[in-house]
């Protein structure tokens, strides 16, 4: 269970939001929305433990995430605005060397096939189109079995098919008892699964 307690954030000395609290249970999907610049990205990074809150605290399975970082990280999968892949490695290498689980190349290959990139295995990532790069990043969802997903605008640059694929993958994760926190400005079918809505800057 992920619990956020009276969180507050500052950026450049300015208060972005304060008193954000929620708790996320198995199978919950939290949709974080708000206008541009309302602090969504900041909040997500805070929930990952990358940014320290100026106030409030976050706990995972009843333990503060700061003092139990390794255990929390073992359950967490974060994909941000920046996709977190090396642009000079190809898709195969990126996935094989960035995942934290033992994965053989057939597994990676089939994941890449599922996201529709089986034809671009040997191109370094920087030569792929925007949407293709995001697809590679999302292939991590297939390779690592983590309990908590935190995804910052996963749909950016994805075409309609890919958005649909993502929605289904997310639904399956929730069914299996996983949790997820997602931001997006786009419409997508996974919105129907949302169990908690947090709106910033209103």
């Amino acid at each position: 269970m992920l619990q956020a307690n009276a969180l507050a954030a500052e950026r450049g000395g300015q208060r972005l939001f304060s008193d954000v609290s929620f708790s996320l249970k198995d199978g919950d999907l939290l949709h974080l929305s708000g206008s541009n610049g309302s602090g969504k990205t900041t909040l997500l990074r805070m929930l990952c433990g990358l940014t320290l809150p100026v106030n409030g605290d976050i706990s995972w399975q009843q333990k503060n995430i700061e003092s139990n970082r390794d255990a929390f990280n073992a359950d967490l999968l974060y994909i941000g605005h920046r996709h977190g892949m090396h642009s000079d490695l190809n898709a195969l290498e990126n996935l094989q060397l960035s995942t934290q689980q033992l994965s053989n190349s057939t597994m990676v290959f089939s994941a890449l096939e599922e996201v529709g990139l089986s034809h671009h295995l040997n191109k370094p990532l920087r030569l792929l189109s925007q949407g293709q790069q995001r697809r590679v990043a999302l292939a991590r969802l297939l390779l690592e079995s983590r309990k908590l997903w935190i995804l910052d605008e996963p749909l950016a640059a994805l075409d309609v098919d890919a958005v649909e694929w993502f929605s289904q993958r997310l639904a399956k994760h929730l069914e299996n008892g996983g949790m997820a926190i997602v931001t997006t400005h786009q419409e997508a079918s996974f919105i129907s699964h949302v169990s908690i809505n947090v709106v910033l800057g209103s």
């Binding site: 500052e10 950026r11 450049g12 000395g13 320290l52 100026v54």
Partner: protein, 241 residues
């Protein structure tokens, strides 16, 4: 805890205001006394003659350069562990003063070195490590000012300060560990000071005077940076009204 209470700007600001006149007056008095004793009363040295008077600036300045760095590093450690904001105010207020004392020690040292040793500068361990101290001060100040986010600035600065602590024992013991051109320790020796009391007294008075001066300037600088940071907080407006 009383310590934590006074670490809040709201309490620290008036307290500092009350202490300041005392430290300021004492600093001025001791500096005058020290300079008078050092320049007019103290006898010349049996070997160096009148040149020895540079000592009354050089030695206290060199001590201050190390003392201030140690204070800053201590505050940095406290700030990292207990997340007290005031430590950062203290550190940034101290940095420029420490750098100035270091520069003063280097300048007076080389001014002294030319007639005594026959060289302005040599790369021996004492001189080099003191120069590194100056660079550490400068590095800290530029790192701190290059970061716009105040929290990141104070934490990154603290890391740098703590790394530099290793230089302090090197400065102090360099003259014993290695053969340097700089002389060995005269004052803080197990077998007692090797300086005649007529020269030692003004030296110690100047050392105290420099400390008082430092405390006064730090308090002034801390108060003005609190004024900047907390310009729109309630307690300050109440106090101004």
């Amino acid at each position: 805890m009383i310590f934590q209470k006074y670490a809040a700007p709201k309490y620290f600001y008036p307290l500092a205001g009350k202490c300041l006149p005392w430290f300021g007056t004492l600093a001025i008095l001791t500096i005058c006394a020290g300079l008078y004793l050092g320049l007019f009363v103290a006898p010349p040295d049996y070997q160096q003659g009148e040149t020895v008077r540079i000592m009354f600036i050089h030695v206290p300045a060199a001590w201050m350069s190390m003392f201030i760095y140690a204070m800053m590093a201590g505050a940095a450690a406290i700030g990292l562990v207990w997340k007290i904001k005031l430590t950062d105010t203290f550190i940034t207020a101290s940095a420029a003063i420490g750098a100035s004392f270091t520069l003063l020690a280097l300048l007076t040292g080389s001014l002294w070195g030319k007639p005594m040793w026959g060289a302005w500068w040599v790369w021996d361990a004492r001189l080099t490590s003191e120069l590194i101290l100056l660079f550490l001060y400068l590095g800290f100040m530029s790192l701190h000012s290059a970061i716009d986010d105040p929290r990141r600035a104070s934490r990154a600065g603290a890391i740098l300060l703590l790394i530099g602590v290793i230089n302090l024992p090197v400065i102090h013991y360099s003259v014993e560990w290695w053969n340097t051109l700089h002389q060995p320790t005269s004052v803080a020796r197990i077998d007692g000071p090797r300086i005649h009391s007529s020269i030692l007294t003004p030296l110690l008075i100047m050392a105290v005077a420099f400390k008082l001066f430092y405390v006064s300037v730090v308090l002034i600088r801390m108060r003005s940076s609190i004024l900047d940071n907390e310009a729109d907080s309630r307690w300050l407006q109440e106090q101004g009204a």
